[in-house]
Each structure stands twice: as structure tokens, then as C-alpha cells.
């Protein structure tokens, strides 16, 4: 091995900007995900299947579906995000990428935020894109579909952010699945209630602004607090691993 390309030896004071480091993390996660497309399709397929099974299993009546449609879509979206959470840090933990992430000279919570953003773009965002199609399938009217998409657009990042805390905490465990669900579902419930509540009130013709503002508040809260909690949880899992 030759080492001609190495610079001289000095203690370094400079560092890469946090934004550039976040971009690197985000880009790597996207690249890895697109090399493994079947993993990308899993949550989407789950989402579509659950929504399709409801009319078959419960009732294909228009009146029932119109009433329950938004709830079905929200629950299905929530569960498919939950299903994908275990992958968020697991592969990085197994191949040592996480160690290198912790040892980067940037605040860990920013790098975690970049990873969570990639997770949302790969799972949450496709669900939002699919929602209009499935909304038509459960006979939601145009206005409800619009509001439903909006609530999912605000709500799914919250699901990813809260989920990242649970995924980080259960990283050191061999079978994390059940514990992850138990930890995370109670925190998802308020998002679900307000998400479906927004659509219900919009369907009755009431303005949805107040509900949406509350969901926005959830998002801001999760965005500011969850990365710190996940970063701390990651350290704990890694230090004990």
C-alpha cells in the first residue's frame, strides 16, 4: 500500500460543516435504499393491502367506507411506518456505520435528523402520494381527500421522528419488534386522534385550520425534541453493544 496521497501531520481544528455532513448521511441512506427496492415497497404494499382488505372484510357499503375511510387510511399508514422503523438504525448498527456516525465531529442529533428525514422520504412521503388513490377507493369526497393528505403530510414526519427514539432505544436488543411497538404506539395515539379528527371535522364542513395548526405544533415539537432523544438513546445502545 502506498501512502503518497496523505497530507502532513498536524492537529486539526477545522471541520466539515454540519449541513454537508447531514447531506452525506441523507444521500447514503437514499442510495442504500434504492439498491434494495423490495425493502422500499414493503411498507407501501402493507398500506395498500390493509386498506383494500377493509371493504372486503367489513363492508363494501359506501356509507360505511365514507365514514371509516379516513380512520382506516390513518391506521394503515401508522402501522406501516411502525413496520419500517426497525430498519432505521439496525443495518447501520450491524455493519459499524453507526459507530463511525457517533465519531463524526458533528452534533449527533443533526446526523440522526438527516437519517430520520431519509426514513420519512422513503416511507412516509410515498404513503402520502398513494393516499388520493386509496381515498377514492374508500369513497372519500375530494375535500376530505385533500385534508387527509395534508394531515398525513404533517403527521407522517411526526411518526418517523417519534419512531426514531424507539428504534434507537431498542437497538441493542435482539428481538426489538414487540418492545418497539409497545414503546411507540402510546406516543402515536395523539397524532392519530388529531389526524382523523381533522378529516372528520372537515367532512362536516367545519374549518380544519385549528386541527391542522395543532398537528403542526406536534411536528415542531417532534422536530425539536426527538433528534436529541434519539441521539442520546443511540449512544446508550452503542455504548452497551
Amino acid at each position: 500500500m502506498n501512502a503518497d496521497c496523505r497530507p502532513a501531520l498536524t492537529l486539526r481544528q477545522d471541520t466539515v460543516g454540519a449541513l454537508a455532513a447531514m447531506q452525506t448521511v441523507f444521500a447514503r441512506d437514499m442510495k442504500v435504499a434504492f439498491r434494495q427496492r423490495q425493502d422500499l415497497l414493503n411498507p407501501l404494499l402493507f398500506f395498500v393491502m390493509v386498506v383494500t382488505l377493509f371493504p372486503l372484510g367489513v363492508s363494501p357499503e359506501v356509507s360505511f367506507l365514507r365514514e371509516a375511510g379516513a380512520g382506516i387510511l390513518w391506521v394503515a399508514a401508522l402501522l406501516s411506518v411502525l413496520l419500517s422503523l426497525d430498519h432505521l438504525f439496525r443495518h447501520d448498527f450491524d455493519d459499524g456505520t453507526l459507530e463511525q456516525l457517533v465519531l463524526q465531529p458533528q452534533p449527533l442529533f443533526l446526523l440522526v435528523l438527516a437519517k430520520t428525514a431519509a426514513h420519512w422520504v422513503l416511507t412516509g412521503l410515498p404513503l402520502v402520494v398513494l393516499t388520493p388513490v386509496l381515498g377514492v377507493m374508500v369513497h372519500l369526497d375530494g375535500n376530505s381527500i385533500g385534508v387527509l393528505c395534508l394531515t398525513l403530510l404533517i403527521g407522517t414526519p411526526v411518526l418517523s421522528l417519534i419512531g426514531s427514539i424507539g428504534a434507537a432505544l431498542t437497538l441493542g436488543l435482539r428481538s426489538a419488534g414487540v418492545l418497539l411497538s409497545l414503546l411507540i404506539i402510546p406516543l402515536y395515539i395523539p397524532v392519530l386522534i388529531f389526524g382523523t379528527g381533522t378529516v372528520a371535522s372537515a367532512a362536516e364542513g367545519a374549518p380544519a385550520g385549528a386541527y391542522l395548526a395543532l398537528m403542526g405544533a406536534f411536528l415542531v415539537l417532534a422536530l425539536t425534541l426527538a433528534p436529541f432523544a434519539s441521539a442520546a438513546a443511540l449512544r446508550i445502545s452503542l455504548f452497551n453493544g
Partner: protein, 212 residues
């Protein structure tokens, strides 16, 4: 004599209610290679993770450039390169993409430099093949390519010789020696019979250190 880069004072580590080592003190000076020795389970990897800042279940003092490390964590991280058992190579990415992702967060380098580093580890022609199609030794070499372009003064290397062939091993030995000559410091754990002139030994299990 120059100031030690990293100094350990009375380190003690307990794992699963068993004391791995106690009263462990040593100094890592610029321009030295230190080998951590000890039987399996004696805490070599644990010690290295402690030094890297990936384990906080220990007591004692770690000094970086003479001052407490915990007070200057970011400076320490910036100037230390840690390669673990699992070196952070993604099987789905190519060696180039892996190397780019691993270096970009610390010191971004232009692609030709990365390519040259991969060439230097004998991965010519494999730069753009997904790592999962490479052998275990080749995957290790992707991680080792980081050493060829790393400018961190302190390297912490856990089992660097694993899965590397004989010519690779002697190349790494040469690299470590050259690194020490340049003034870098290296701490390495290995079961390979590494003998370098002036090598420092940190012996675990016995709890003492000496020069050979």
C-alpha cells in the same frame, strides 16, 4: 520528548460484574505504535472502544494532549480515527461510495484521491463493484483505504489484520511504521505477531505496560 497525545491514568473497567483491568496507565506518544495484547476476553476491544469514546462504563482518567478528554471531546474526535471490528462498510454500496461516505463527514476528498487510495489497497478494478460481491478480505481493504488518506494524528485500530493476506499484512506493518515515522500515533489490537522496532506493548490480563 514531545507531549503524549493520549494518556491513560488508572483506568479500570468492569464488564458483566467482572473486572477486565484495573490501575491501567499508559501514554501514547506521537511517533509510536502501541499494541494491546492479551488473551481472548481480556478486554482489548473494550479498551480500544473506551479510548475511542464508544464506551463510558469505566473509571480513571483519559487525557488528550495533557487535558481531560471529556472537556474537549470534539477536538479529540476530529483528530482520532477509529476502525472497529465492523468498519462501517455498506454491502450494497461500492468501495468508492463507501469510502466517499466515510470520509465526507470528516474531510471531503476529491474522487481521484479516493480512487488512488483504493488502488493502493489492491482494489484496482473493484472500485465500482458492490461490496457484497467482494471477499471478506477485500471488504476489510476498503476500510483500510481510509488509512492511506487519513490525516488524524491518532489511529485506533481493532484487529486490522483480520482476513488480510500475507502481502497485505506486511503492507499494513509498513504503513504503521511509516505512520510512526511521520509522527502519528497508532494503537492496535491484534493476535497477529506484530513486531515493529520501538513498539510499545499494553498488556491486559496482567495489567502492566512495557517497551520491547
Amino acid at each position: 520528548m514531545s507531549e503524549p497525545l493520549l494518556q491513560a491514568v488508572d483506568l479500570q473497567c468492569e464488564r458483566d460484574e467482572r473486572i477486565l483491568f484495573r490501575d491501567l496507565s499508559f501514554s501514547i506518544l506521537p511517533g509510536t505504535v502501541a499494541r494491546v495484547e492479551g488473551p481472548n476476553g481480556s478486554g482489548k476491544t473494550t479498551l480500544l472502544r473506551m479510548l475511542a469514546g464508544l464506551n463510558d462504563a469505566w473509571s480513571g482518567n483519559l487525557l488528550w494532549c495533557g487535558k481531560s478528554r471529556s472537556a474537549q471531546r470534539e477536538e479529540f474526535i476530529r483528530n482520532t480515527l477509529y476502525l472497529g471490528h465492523r468498519p462501517g462498510i455498506k454491502p450494497l454500496l461500492t468501495p468508492m461510495e463507501n469510502l466517499r461516505a466515510l470520509t465526507a463527514g470528516r474531510r471531503p476528498l476529491p474522487d481521484p484521491v479516493l480512487r488512488q487510495a483504493l488502488d493502493g489497497t489492491g482494489l484496482t478494478g473493484f472500485q465500482d463493484v458492490p461490496c457484497r460481491n467482494l471477499s471478506a478480505g477485500q471488504q476489510r481493504r476498503v476500510a483500510l483505504a481510509r488509512l492511506l488518506i487519513a490525516d488524524e494524528p491518532l489511529w485506533l485500530l481493532d484487529e486490522v489484520f483480520t482476513a488480510i493476506d500475507a502481502s497485505g499484512v506486511s503492507a499494513i506493518e509498513q504503513l504503521l511504521q511509516q505512520r510512526a515515522a511521520e509522527g502519528g500515533a497508532v494503537v492496535v489490537t491484534t493476535h497477529h505477531d506484530l513486531r515493529l522496532p520501538g513498539m510499545q506493548r499494553i498488556v491486559l490480563g496482567g495489567g502492566s505496560t512495557d517497551e520491547c
